[in-house]
């Protein structure tokens, strides 16, 4: 009798184990169809967009021809990068061909930097990006280069500008301020420390994430393991004394508020001027989450500033790709920025 009970128990346990294994396989199969794995692991681009780089950790590949893909959404928007890995420049000829003034035929050369993925125009087709829309609205011929890359800070953008372009060729520099850091005081604002633990999935850099560290290699092979690690990362971070996925709490690194320092946007502006850029426009960009920080634009004597952070309150903004500007939003912003550039010229 006891042996019979024992074998019954063993059969039940074996059935349960088998059912769990079948469930695991079913789950992995189902989710692979329902949520394609690069989206599950939050890669923003199709494969081959990034390559390792000793200066910045990674850079965008030159002549990349792929698609942007939102981290949590199943959609694709084609994107092509130029020989430096930047989005294609916006070039606009002079509309008044009969002009006898030779200077009018010389295009104004503008460079835009900062704003990370918002400046890059993540989720937007080429003709919808901010720099293309600005070019359309400027009255004279212009050539606008865009240096911004998703995942890059303003300081890194300035470094790219000096290392990958000839800054003195530009008549106007447009600095896009978006993140909190851009308004903060930092003495080491343009220091670039290539990360040691950069993780690339199919040549796409993925954000640093403690969940991935918990799961090791299995994290990248199994939805279930990845899901469990994501669930466990909060208690794991708490146990490790971390508040978030970032190893270094941001306050320690960036909120120095030194007397001899300035907000990053002003430091960047000064650097641009010293590199030979004739005039600088600083643009404070709005966020989907609204105007929630009390950052006041600092005074500057050698650059012009426009604050567009409250624009969504008065105009109908569209948002795509989890909080990025949609085509309509970009048109609103481009109009204001083009007007400001026009007054600079």
């Amino acid at each position: 009798m006891a042996r019979e009970n024992e074998s019954q128990l063993m059969r039940t346990i074996a059935s349960m184990v088998l059912a769990i294994m079948i469930g695991w396989v079913l789950c992995e199969s189902l989710l692979r169809v329902l949520v394609p794995w690069p989206i599950f692991y939050s890669t923003w681009f199709t494969e081959g967009v990034h390559q390792r780089d000793p200066r910045f950790g990674f850079v965008f590949c030159s002549e990349y021809d792929g698609t942007m893909r939102n981290a949590d959404q199943v959609w694709m928007e084609p994107v092509r990068l130029d020989s430096r890995g930047f989005r294609k420049p916006a070039v606009r000829g002079d509309s008044d061909q009969s002009s006898i003034d030779n200077s009018a035929t010389q295009p104004v050369r503008i460079v835009m930097l900062g704003g990370a993925s918002m400046g890059f125009g993540y989720g937007l087709a080429d003709h919808e990006t901010l720099h293309h829309q600005i070019a359309e609205r400027l009255p004279n011929a212009c050539h606008i280069d865009l240096v911004s890359w998703p995942g890059f800070t303003l300081g890194q953008d300035v470094q790219k500008l000096t290392q990958m372009t000839e800054p003195s060729q530009y008549d106007v520099g447009v600095i896009l301020a978006y993140g909190d850091d851009d308004y903060r005081y930092r003495s080491d604002w343009d220091r670039v420390d290539p990360p040691n633990d950069l993780h690339m999935v199919h040549s796409v850099v993925t954000p640093r994430d403690s969940a991935a560290r918990l799961g090791g290699d299995l994290y990248w092979d199994s939805y279930v393991v990845a899901g469990v690690c994501r669930l466990l990362r909060v208690p794991a971070n708490l146990l490790a004394g971390r508040e978030s996925d970032l190893d270094v709490p941001p306050e320690k690194a960036v909120n120095e508020n030194l007397e001899d320092s300035k907000p990053q946007i002003l430091m960047a502006s000064e650097r641009l001027r010293s590199l030979g850029v004739d005039s600088v426009l600083i643009v404070a960009l709005p966020r989907q989450t609204g105007f929630h920080d009390a950052a006041i634009l600092p005074d500057s004597t050698d650059s012009m500033m426009i604050d567009l952070r409250r624009e969504p309150e008065s105009l109908r903004f569209d948002w795509i790709a989890y909080g990025h500007y949609g085509p309509e939003s970009v048109k609103h912003l481009a109009k204001k920025i083009a007007n400001a550039i026009d007054t600079l010229e």
Partner: protein, 480 residues
């Protein structure tokens, strides 16, 4: 506090343990349920608890007065209850809409009146609990249910947290006796509740929330997509809204069942409906039954001739649309369903005169009958899909753009496959489950399956939930 949040899981676990500890003490359990329901609601906005309290107090006393009063005073108290409940609903849900619409109307006639908006925040679930308490006073007035003289029990009936914010809208005849009477937690209830809860979370968290981003992406700028994606995104919304709302209802029923309550089934395989009328017998049944009992029949139903019936159908569906939200697209959606029901009614009237229609239908079980039924289901599905497009669009211009994409734009769009595979998978899963339910004529599909199948499916659901996690997405019907 959303069902799909870890906070809610902890909240429910605490409530459930305390509830079990109070077994056989109905008053104690009810007190616990009332406090936890108020905590649950206050987690959104504690200020709006006052509205629930107002509704509870007014309808409790109105019910007692209606029962004891003479004919005239009964009417007065019913009117009082209607005015208070509908007045609160109108103020909080429709005031700004009415003001805006009035200003637009005056602008059309060149007057251009500008009345400032009150910017009133919509209290979560106000339409649900208002209709629930209204059904109580009306039923007391009609003598269908005795007035409740237990204030605690009545307060639980109004505010019971599993169904407070998105239904089902329970009638007092069905739910009040459960609140007032003793409840036992039986093993079978735990097992059935488990199926409801797991399937509900699967529908919401795994299916609906995985499809939602694609739908949102399309509706963010419909003009950027071709015809094939417009269709797929709308099929996606058809899946999403079902997964979202049916998922909520199943979770509500499951967690209620664990506490010994039986809530009504709000859905019965709606996308297997073979006609618009059939659809409304299967979709959001608690609302459609409410509208039928307390509005359509009050207007005269179908007893006063063809024209009056058509008017009643249109009016009921227009108000049903408006119940969903203070926006013209909901009114249009309701009107669209009203027209469908009128069309079906007209067909039913005309059909016998056509004579040989029944020959085409054949006998049940025959191939021709099955094909005809399948065709009806497919036509109904497409009609419902068009309806959901009206429902989902946020403006009249979005409606125009979306329909022009669906019907006038070329179907080719190179990105269609990235939409088609996930949406196709989600709808296939839902249809398999629904066909299975229809076939066995029971909701307990997994409980009727072999143990291995059941546990494999359960473990798949649990693993899926662990994998995708709880995303901070609201339930669509919370906004109503």
């Amino acid at each position: 506090m959303l069902f799909n949040s870890y906070t809610f899981l902890v909240f429910y676990a605490i409530v459930f343990v305390a509830y079990v500890a109070l077994s056989r003490k109905t008053a104690g359990q009810n007190l616990l349920l009332l406090v936890s329901s108020y905590v649950f609601y206050a987690a959104w906005d504690y200020r709006f608890l006052s509205l629930i309290l107002l509704s509870t107090v007014v309808d409790f006393f109105a019910g007692l007065r209606i029962e004891k009063g003479n004919n005239q005073s009964r009417k007065r108290w019913l009117l009082f209850s209607l005015v208070v409940n509908l007045g609160v609903l109108a103020t909080f849900k429709y005031f700004d809409f009415a003001t805006e619409s009035f200003c637009q109307l005056t602008a059309m006639f060149g007057l251009g009146l500008s009345i400032p908006m009150a910017e009133i925040i919509l209290p979560v679930g106000i339409s649900f609990y208002t209709f629930q308490t209204l059904s109580y006073t009306i039923d007391v007035y009609r003598g269908r249910v005795p007035a409740c003289n237990n204030p605690l029990g009545f307060a639980v009936y109004v505010a019971f947290f599993p169904q407070l914010v998105a239904g089902p809208i329970e009638r007092a005849t069905h739910f009040l006796p459960q609140v007032l009477g003793p409840r036992n937690i039986r093993r079978v209830d735990l097992v059935i509740g488990l199926q409801f809860v797991l399937l509900g979370y699967f529908y919401k968290v795994v299916l609906a929330d995985s499809i939602a981003p694609m739908v949102n992406q399309f509706y963010a700028s419909p003009s950027r997509y071709g015809g094939s994606i417009a269709w797929l995104a709308n099929v996606g919304f058809t899946v999403q809204i079902y997964g979202d709302f049916a998922g909520y209802s199943m979770i509500a029923r499951g967690i209620s069942r664990w506490m010994g309550f039986r809530l009504m089934a709000n859905f019965r395989q709606p996308y297997l409906a073979a006609s618009p009328r059939d659809f409304w017998n299967r979709w959001h049944r608690s609302l459609s039954q409410w509208l039928r009992r307390y509005l359509y029949f009050e207007l005269g139903g179908s007893r006063r001739g063809f024209a009056i019936t058509c008017r009643n159908l249109i009016l009921t569906m227009l108000l049903g649309g408006l119940w969903h939200g203070a926006s013209w697209n909901f009114v249009i959606w309701g009107g669209f369903h009203g027209i469908l029901l009128v069309g079906q009614h007209a067909w039913m009237v005309v059909r016998p005169a056509r004579g040989n229609w029944h020959l085409l239908q054949g006998h049940p079980g025959q191939l021709s009958s099955k094909i005809l039924r399948l065709a009806k289901i497919m036509v109904t599905f497409v009609l419902m899909l068009i309806g959901w497009t009206l429902f989902r669009c946020e403006s009249l211009s979005d409606i125009t753009v979306t329909f022009s994409r669906m019907f006038l734009s070329p179907l080719a769009d190179p990105r269609w496959l990235s939409f088609a595979v996930p949406i196709g998978t989600a709808i296939a899963i839902m249809l398999v489950i629904d066909v299975w339910k229809e076939k066995i004529k029971s909701e307990l599909v997994f409980l009727r399956a072999p143990v291995m199948v059941r546990w494999s499916v359960y473990s798949m659901i649990v693993f899926s939930l662990l994998s995708v996690g709880f995303r901070p997405t609201n339930f669509i019907y919370f906004q109503f």
